[in-house]
Each structure stands twice: as C-alpha cells, then as structure tokens.
C-alpha cells in the first residue's frame, strides 16, 4: 500500500505526519516500511533519522542534446522545434540552455545532418538510507534547477516495501501531481486557518481529478477557526486525525525529533489510522 501525505499550503505538518506514521508502523512490527520524501526541492524527512545508515547514493540523469558543430549547418530546425526554447542557433554556433530542456528528443529527430546526439545531465541525487526499521529514500534537486518532476518520479520508482509513505512537496501543480500519482490513498494535512482551508480546497480538487481516495488530518487543532471542520462535514470528507497545537510537539519537531517517540501513546493512533485507511481502500 502506498499512502501519500500532501497539502496545498506549506508548513502544515506533512513531514511531521509522514515521519510519525513511518516510526509508528515500524515499532508496530510492520517489517518493510519505506518513507519516500518527494519534496526534492527541500527534502527534510531524513533529518528526523539521525542514526540512519546510508545504503545508496546516485545521480538522477535526464537526456540532453549535444551538438556536433562540425556537422551543424545552423539551419535552426532544432531550435524551431524545441517547445521549451532550450536551443538558440546563432550564425556560428548553437547555444543550449540545459535547465530549460525536457529531454524530449525532438531536436535529434528533426536534424537532417545528424548533428544532434544525446548525452545526459544530472538533475540531482537520490539517496537511500535505513534507520530503526524504516527505509528512507529522498531526492535532492541540484541548485538552480527548475524541473523537479523527473527526480520526484525517480524517488517514487525507487521506493519498495509493504507500506510506502510518500511525503509530498507543498503546492497544487505538477510536482504534487507527480508525487501522488500511483498512490492508493492521499492524506491531506491542513491547519484550521483561512489559508489552510483555501489551499486544502485546491489540493482536494487535484485529487478528485486524479481519482485518488483521500482523507484529511487537521494539525495544530485548537488554533484558528472552525471553518475547515464545517467544510469537511458538508462535503463528507473523512477527518482521520487531529493533532493539537501543542508547544511540546512543536519543540520536539523543531529539534528534529519524531514526537511519537517521546509521546508513545500516539503510535497506536497512527497505526490505527493506517488500518482505517487500509479498510477505506479495500
């Protein structure tokens, strides 16, 4: 089973929930729990496992054109066909803007001089580590790199296990779509504030479009207002857990500790929620 943890708004507690869920399942004896951190722009989940042992580290490559200037006639067909404006043909040379390239291969296809061949470039790195019964996989997007989706896909493809928990990036566009694609259930983490509600509504629409079963976890309950609860009730969206606004939890999180390790009564709640999710999708 693959469960994604997402939210429209940032900072609602996705990583808090994903790490707590992974730790709770691991101590409940689920043998293969994998935590896949798909927030490749700002990967954080691994920080909560300081005792981890690194098992693997590798580059994530995407194709990119290499122009043979000796064969090139500067006809500009490659630049004309490129939907991403990643090539500019000047009278004497061809300029490539690798960050704009999607690696689609159109330039190679249209070049009649066979002057375009394909090389590869790295978008970032993928890491795999193990800590206390949890396997953690994360990606780290190279600085200055705009396209995160191929790296997100590579992180997800690498994640195997009985239970895979996918920690998603914030937002409601392509990186969220790529992260939740193929997961069996999406748990949306929100906070009971106007910002939390507004962004939750957009994220729910994305999941509806993708036909992914979903439920909501309200974090920092007790703050803000009641509108998010009224919203969920009106739409019949299951509220699976509430985590109170609690200085103790916030402090543990700020130090990089998984709060359920210090407040073990929460482990049963997380394990129970996962069972409930399992029943909902079966």
């Amino acid at each position: 089973m693959k469960i994604s943890i997402a939210s429209g708004k940032g900072g609602t507690g996705k990583t808090l929930v994903a790490t707590s869920m992974a730790a709770s399942l691991a101590s409940a004896g689920i043998s293969r729990v994998t935590l896949a951190d798909c927030d490749v722009e700002e990967p954080n989940a691994y920080l909560f496992f300081p005792e981890r042992t690194l098992l693997e580290r590798k580059e994530c490559y995407v194709p990119v054109p290499i122009i043979d200037e000796l064969k090139c006639t500067h006809c500009s067909k490659c630049a004309d066909v490129c939907a991403y404006h990643a090539l500019a043909v000047l009278p004497e040379t061809v300029l490539l803007f690798p960050e704009l390239c999607h690696g689609c291969g159109a330039c190679t296809l249209v070049c009649q001089e066979s002057a375009v061949r394909e090389g590869s470039r790295s978008l970032g790195e993928i890491f795999r580590a193990r800590s206390d019964g949890v396997e953690i996989i994360w990606g780290e997007l190279r600085l200055g790199e705009a396209r995160s989706t191929p790296l997100i896909k590579a992180v997800k493809d690498r994640a195997e296990g009985e239970t895979v928990i996918v920690d998603c990036p914030p937002g409601t566009s392509c990186s969220l779509v790529e992260s939740v694609r193929g997961t069996d259930f999406c748990l949306l983490v929100t906070e009971p504030t106007p910002f939390g509600l507004y962004d939750l509504d957009i994220a729910l629409k994305v999941l509806e479009k993708m036909n992914i079963p979903r439920g909501v976890l309200v974090n920092k309950s007790g703050m803000g207002d009641r509108k998010v609860y009224e919203y969920l009730e009106k739409r019949n969206i299951p509220l699976l857990m509430e985590i109170p606004l609690d200085r103790n939890i916030a402090e543990l999180y700020s130090r990089g500790e998984i709060f359920v390790e210090k407040m073990p009564e929460w482990k049963a709640k997380f394990a129970g929620m996962v069972r409930e999710i399992e029943e909902m999708i079966s």
Binding site: G8, K9, G10, G11, T12, T15, D39, E41, E42, N44, L47, F48, P63, V81, A83, Y84, H102, G103, C104, G105, A106, L109, V110, L141, L143, G144, E145, A146, R147, S148, P169, P170, G171, T172, S173, C174, S175, L176, V177, R181, T193, P194, F195, Y198, D199, I202, A203, K205, V206, K209, M210, M223, G224, D225, A250, E251, Y253, S254, R255, G256
Partner: protein, 284 residues
C-alpha cells in the same frame, strides 16, 4: 523600480502574513504580486476587488484525431513521457514537446493550447494587487509567475509606483526561480527548526547562484533559542543581514482569521514588523 521578493525554502514560515503586513506599511506606494500561484492566499487578507481578468495559457498539449489515426504506434514509441497509451493522449502526462506530431505519418496529431488559469489586476485597501489562479493540478506555474510579475511591473510603471512587493512560493524550483529572477532583494523568511535551518541554506544557495542580494527574517525566533542562534551564526558566516526577528504570538493567526494584516491589529509582532520595514527601506 525596486522589487522585493519574500521567499522561504520551507513552506508555512509566514511569508504571506508578513507580506500582508509589509503591504499595509507600504500602503499607496507599491504594487503587490502574489506569485505563490499554487496556493495563493494573499487575497484572503488583502480582499481585492478584481478590475481585470486575463487568460493564462499554459503548455500546449497533443490531441490525436481518431479519424486520421492509423494506430501505427510510432507516437507511443517516441513519447519520452509515457503520455500515450492505446492511441490516446493522457493530458496529465503530456509535456507538450510535439514529438508525437513530428513522427506521425498520418497527420493525426495536433498541438493545442489550453486555458490553464487566470491572472487578475485588483484594487485593495493597500494599493493594487496582481494575483492569479492556476487550475488545480495544471502545469507551468513558473510561466504564470512570470506573467504575474510582468503585469505587476507594468502596473507599477503606469501608476508611477516604484516598489513591487512579491509574495513567493516555498521550495527552490521553477516557480521560486521565476519569482526571484531580477529582484533587488530576496527576503527569506525562516523559523528556528531543524527543517527551517536546512531549507534556509538551500534557498540562500539558490539566491547566490543567481546573484541576488538576500536578507533574512527569523519568524517565531523565541520558539527554539538554540536553533535561532544557529541561524544567526549561519547568517553572520554568509554575511547575510538579519532584517528582523519576529516573536511567536497568537495575534498572527487572529489577524488571519479576521482577514486583517498583523500590523492592523498591533501587538509585539506588529512592532517587530514595523521595525523590519525601516531596515528594508534603508537597504533599498
């Protein structure tokens, strides 16, 4: 014209609440641009009256004309994004490269632009706001950010306002790069947590990569004094100025629930933001 972008690596550090307050302080002198097009929240505080709506077309996507398609399968083999199955395009996977159209011997593929959202020019109690709506799950948020920024610059020029204040998105990828390009100052909002620290470094590195001047705001600095002082040390090492330190206080959420800016309510956070605004004005 000067442009300030408020960004953060980590989400939820308080960018939008801060921008709303800075807008209240800059009242009448600036144009505001909500460039967090994935999760735009600034309008919830600024409560805009929309004056103009423009259509946003994202990437082109392929369409297969079933009456022309001979089901030869060449397009499926050529597509690098796995977007074609059973001679049908999956629009969610199509990246609009046009390779399928190139290889189709039957001329059955057409590339079509599709409406992906809207950008708005609005009036608010603090001055003009440019904001946007990206349809849920759509692509090209970076392109929409660029459109919002261009509209904001044009608006500032036409109204003789010399400041554009940008509310950015979390992360370091495409929408963030689009929010940062060409700004005079990136104000990075962080919080004293292990994740806040880590993400601050990444976003400072990205700003350096593009040669953009930065300043840091530590939000909720009193929540974890040890982490806050590590952030202070990091900024000192990197010669990045700390423009402000905001205390943790319930007035921030109270203001949000009321649809007001924190500085409109007053209190310790409001005072700290006003102090920071003076620092920022001097910096520019």
């Amino acid at each position: 014209m000067r442009q300030i972008a408020v960004v953060s690596g980590k989400g939820g550090t308080g960018k939008t609440s801060l921008v709303a307050s800075l807008a209240a302080l800059a009242r009448g002198r600036a144009v505001y641009a909500d460039c967090d097009v994935d999760a735009p929240d600034l309008h919830l505080i600024l409560q805009p009256t929309v004056m103009e709506r423009r259509e946003f077309f994202g990437i082109k996507r392929a369409f297969i004309d079933g009456s022309k398609c001979t089901q030869c399968g060449l397009c499926q083999d050529a597509c690098r994004f796995g977007a074609i199955a059973d001679f049908q395009i999956n629009p969610a996977l199509c990246e609009g490269c046009g390779v399928c159209k190139l290889v189709c011997p039957a001329g059955a593929v057409e590339m079509r632009e599709s409406l992906a959202g809207y950008a708005y020019i609005s009036e608010t109690r603090f001055g003009p706001l440019v904001h946007a709506e990206l349809f849920p799950g759509d692509e090209a948020s970076g392109k929409l950010v660029a459109m919002v920024r261009e509209m904001a610059r044009d608006l500032a020029a036409s109204r003789n306002l010399d400041l554009v204040l940008i509310d950015g998105s979390p992360g370091i990828g495409c929408p963030v790069i689009a929010s940062l390009t060409g700004v005079d100052l990136a104000l990075v909002v962080t919080e004293p947590t292990i994740t806040g620290e880590h993400d601050l470094e990444r976003v400072l590195d990205v700003a350096d990569h593009f040669g953009i001047k930065t300043a840091v705001c530590i939000n909720k600095f009193d929540l974890n004094p040890a982490a806050a002082s590590r952030i202070e040390d990091l900024c000192q090492e990197r010669a990045v100025m700390i423009a402000g330190r905001l205390p943790f206080h319930p007035s921030v959420v109270e203001a949000m629930v009321l649809g007001r800016a924190v500085v409109e309510l007053g209190g310790p956070v409001a005072e700290a933001i006003s102090g920071m605004w003076n620092v920022l004005e001097n910096l520019l």
